[in-house]
């Protein structure tokens, strides 16, 4: 109604202000300041030691602040969950904090909390992680609790019950979150029930109910061994002062033979299908488009990272600029490759206004297709490489970031000089290589399309796109019987 009036006022004001600008401004703003050569990045120096019991120790000294961070990486991730028993690694880790042969859950918690420290044991997919953060003045006290939890957990029956029911409740709560449903169902659909990457690492209600205290104790006994772990330490401590304290703290921990695991092969993606999961009345649809893609060991890691930064790996990526900044369908859209031991998932997606679900799918498919066909432009290649090079300077600021960088070396067997060569490897990526990996690893015709949303409202529009067979699934990603 008052639209035209607003526009004319706008034009008028714009004009007036431009004139003021021309008169009032003497600084030349026409050329933006261009960055000089990238700064030299001082890499963290890793000092290594091995304790008598075989536990490897990697230390990066940082005396900026009076605190120490520890992160023990243990080969006991959810990839070790026994078949049919997802969630074993996760529950084992959690119960470890809840009682040892000499301390109760509350005693452990109180000692850690009293010194303002934090401690946790958590299972990831490729490993488990026992972390500790403490002020250096409290390190001895913190370390004594931490080592006790890692080396002498007692798996008290009542704590197993308590944490089991807490986890089952948390699973129930996951059903409230469309984005979580989408991620888990997407993994189940592309990896199937036969591969650990296809299961919720927290387990299912059925698997959790079936777990016995002895199963957790046995999982711990088999895998939590000093020769199956490495301790990363970052902070205000020297190797000479650290090693004797660690020897003492971990002296009772014994090495043992580690059972090998044999992961099934990752399924090959077939013809594209659309999987719908109903969330009646949802104002947004969560979309995930993708398939199992690449392991961390791929020789194409660098060209893929350079390509994905432009596809959907940063704010100014093609996907976000198109779906958010040009069309206003979403608060944010992106794409990502998760590189794991075995081929991890690639996906493109986000949360999109329900009424624009089909349009969003079309645009995502368009972006995937055009990257597959044409790769990057020379400008994009330069932006991506400069961006990765520039942001490398921020990689080693905090203890957490340094520990994470070391953890990647450990988990994926990357060479010690990996970070020394990082910039060179980014610099070497060519347009041709990007084109090759785009063609090879982005094939929208074989991707699964998973949509969590108000099915009644979105199904007709999605069907009209003709992307493939439409399958309705439950919230775990299992097809509903028609």
């Amino acid at each position: 109604m008052n639209g035209p009036a607003e526009i004319s006022i706008a034009l008028l004001l714009g004009l007036t202000m431009t004139q003021t600008d021309a008169a009032g401004q003497s600084l030349d703003r026409s050329a933006r300041p261009s960055p000089g050569p990238a700064p030299e990045v001082v890499l963290p120096a890793i000092q290594k030691a091995t304790l008598t019991n075989g536990l490897g120790v990697w230390l990066v000294e940082s005396h900026k602040l009076p605190q120490v961070a520890m992160n023990m990486v243990i080969g006991a991730g959810s990839d070790h969950d026994p078949a049919g028993s997802p969630g074993t690694a996760a529950l084992t880790a959690e119960v470890m904090e809840a009682g040892t042969t000499s301390q109760s859950a509350l005693q452990i918690a109180e000692r850690i909390e009293f010194i303002g420290a934090s401690m946790s044991v958590r299972a990831g997919i490729d490993a488990s992680f026992a972390t500790l953060n403490a002020l250096s003045k409290h390190l001895d006290e913190a370390l004594s609790v931490y080592a006790d939890v890692v080396t002498a957990p007692s798996f008290p029956a009542q704590e197993v019950e308590r944490l089991r029911s807490q986890r089952i409740t948390a699973l129930m709560q996951q059903k409230d979150r469309a984005a979580v449903i989408a991620n888990l169902a997407f993994n189940r659909i592309i990896y199937g029930p036969g591969h650990p990457y296809g299961s919720d690492p927290s387990g299912t209600e059925v698997s959790l109910k079936g777990m016995k205290r002895e199963d957790l104790a046995e999982f711990y006994r088999a895998l939590y061994r000093p020769n199956n772990a490495t301790l990363i330490v970052v902070g205000d401590v020297t190797l000479a002062s650290l090693v004797p304290r660690l020897e003492k703290a971990f002296s009772a921990w014994q090495k043992a033979g580690i059972p090998a695991i044999d992961l099934p092969a990752v399924p090959k993606p077939g013809k594209r299908k659309v999987y719908l999961i109903d969330k009646p009345g949802a104002p947004q649809s969560e979309i995930r488009i993708g398939y199992p893609a690449l392991a961390r060991s791929t020789p194409d890691y660098f060209p893929v990272v350079v390509m994905n930064r432009i596809l959907g790996g940063q704010f100014s990526s093609r996907i976000n600029m198109n779906l958010r900044e040009r069309r206003g369908f979403t608060y944010g859209a992106r794409s990502s490759f998760s590189f794991s031991r075995q081929p991890g998932p690639f996906f493109a997606g986000g949360g999109f206004f329900t009424a624009k679900t089909d349009s969003a799918l079309l645009e995502l498919m368009h972006e995937l297709g055009s990257m597959q066909r044409d790769g990057l432009t020379p400008d994009e290649l330069r932006f991506s490489k400069n961006g990765l090079t520039g942001s490398f300077a921020q990689t080693f600021e905090t203890a957490g970031q340094i520990a994470f960088a070391l953890q990647s070396l450990l988990l994926y067997g990357l060479p010690d000089d990996y970070y020394q060569n990082f910039l060179k490897n980014i610099e070497h990526v060519s347009l041709g290589e990007v084109k090759r990996v785009s063609e090879m690893y982005l094939d929208p015709a074989r991707m699964a399309v998973v949509v969590v949303g108000d099915v009644k409202a979105i199904r007709p529009g999605i069907e009209s796109l003709g992307l493939g067979d439409v399958v309705e699934c439950d919230s775990q990603g299992n097809p509903l019987s028609q």
Partner: protein, 449 residues
């Protein structure tokens, strides 16, 4: 008065006397146009950050235009006369930097992190929009970000479990004329109503150098950094000074009880009170009270509700401190098969208990120790939200002293067990609260009474 007394006690306690000082050295200057500038050197990594606070948030909005301060934050990324649309992010990201912004009731903050070789780029970008944003603003840009913000509201509030609780609590804690009555995100209706003319007026009124403060930190040479700041920001004209806000203090004299049905599996209880503003007497004591109640397995509410009785899945207590009023909130989610009435009666017992008898000194010391450790953790990063630069700006805004780190920590070190009991009695009054039950659709019987 009370403050002076606890400081004297602090001086007398030998254990406290040896505590180390936490300080973040800085230089500060004010530009002729009123821009307040703080520089801080940290050469740990070859990176810098530019952190800009505008002293305007949703509390300055007009009726019928809620959500505008935040919508405006989005528009700040839509380009300015010398930064074409889309290039703010692309130029920064292709230099290896990144950025973000956020809006609260009190302020809007923006940061750009970048490698040190790109220091001048964020100064150029930030100054171009501070000085000249409206020259390149268009109604189409406003429409586009209106859609993005509506999607943000869908994603972060409407499609998020319990996402509407915060909005309901503010509406009921603060009367309609109080600037904290409406939510930062705004209503869909008001977002639809915002006009291009509103954008121009808002910019003119609030986005002035004399209503902003700028922190430049990291691997900088402060002498050179000052010259660059003066170069890029010096020509921006000041605006009219803003009147101070002084809403009438909120005094709730009768308990309000609300029930809201949401698409959730489990019911959740919220109890909320209006409490002293950030850094006022009582604020730190309420932080410590919150820790004693809910931080860690051995905290009072966690231990009873979650650990021992296992009738709750989680419980938190928090003093949310702001400029014009704060909110103390206790939030607990019931386990399946339990009602919010059961949770409320236990919480009430614990509130009554801590009012009747102060906590043990070890409980308070534990909470203080946790705060001390958190102060060091907060010094790790220079940039981003909550990094040192953002904290310097925050302390500057709330206290007038950017390096208020040690004074802030001293507040906690000075509190004793009696103080914690006293704030519980003074502020957590039964008739001065809002009690909200969020229950699964159709399950009103699970609510608190």
């Amino acid at each position: 008065m009370k403050r002076l007394l606890v400081m004297l006690l602090l001086g007398a306690a030998a254990a406290f006397a040896q505590e180390s000082r936490i300080t973040v050295p800085y230089t500060r200057f004010s530009m002729p146009n009123g821009l307040d500038v703080v520089l801080h050197e940290d050469h740990t990594t070859p990176t810098i950050t530019v952190n800009c606070w505008y002293h305007v948030g949703s509390s300055r909005e007009k009726p019928g235009r809620t959500g505008f301060a935040h919508l405006f934050e989005h528009l700040m990324f839509m380009g300015s006369p010398h930064v074409p649309e889309g290039m703010f992010d692309q130029w920064l990201e292709s230099a290896g930097g990144d950025n973000n912004a956020s809006t609260t009731e009190d302020r809007t903050n923006y940061y750009e992190d970048a490698p040190v070789n790109a220091l001048e780029l964020p100064l150029f970008l930030e100054s171009d929009r501070m000085g000249y944003l409206p020259q390149s603003m268009t109604p189409e840009k406003v429409d586009l970000q209106r859609s993005v913000v509506k999607n943000e509201r869908r994603q972060s509030y409407e499609n998020r479990p319990y996402g509407m609780a915060g909005i309901l609590l503010s509406e009921n804690l603060f009367p309609p004329e109080h600037p904290y009555h409406w939510p930062v995100i705004g209503s869909m209706e008001d977002l639809s109503a915002a006009t291009f003319q509103d954008v121009l007026e808002f910019f003119k009124k609030y986005y002035n150098p004399n209503n902003a403060s700028l922190v430049v930190a990291g691997d900088i040479d402060p002498v050179k950094a000052r010259i660059q700041v003066e170069k890029w920001f010096g020509e921006i004209p000041p605006g009219d000074p803003l009147p101070l806000q002084s809403p009438a203090p909120v005094n709730i004299t009768q308990e309000k009880r609300l029930v809201y049905e949401d698409k959730v599996q489990l019911p959740r209880l919220y109890m909320a009170w209006v409490t002293p503003v950030r850094f006022a007497p009582g604020d730190a004591e309420l932080d410590l009270l919150a820790s004693v109640l809910s931080s860690g397995k051995t905290s009072r509410l966690y231990k009873r509700l979650v650990y021992d009785m296992q009738i709750a899945q989680d419980v938190t207590a928090e003093q949310g401190s702001n400029h014009l009023a704060s909110t103390f909130m206790i939030v607990a989610t019931a386990r399946a098969g339990h009602t919010l009435r059961e949770l409320e009666s236990v919480i009430q017992e614990e509130i009554d208990r801590i009012k009747a008898q102060p906590p043990a000194s070890r409980e308070v010391q534990r909470a203080v120790n946790q705060y001390e450790a958190s102060f060091y953790r907060r010094l790790e990063r220079v940039g981003g939200f909550g990094g040192k630069a953002d904290q310097l700006n925050s302390y500057l805004f709330y206290t007038g002293n950017p390096d208020y780190f040690n004074e802030d920590l001293a507040r906690y070190r000075a509190v004793d067990a009696n103080d914690v009991g006293t704030v519980a009695s003074t502020y957590l009054r039964d008739n001065g609260r809002v009690v909200l039950s969020v229950v699964p659709v159709g399950k009103k019987e699970l609510s608190a009474k």
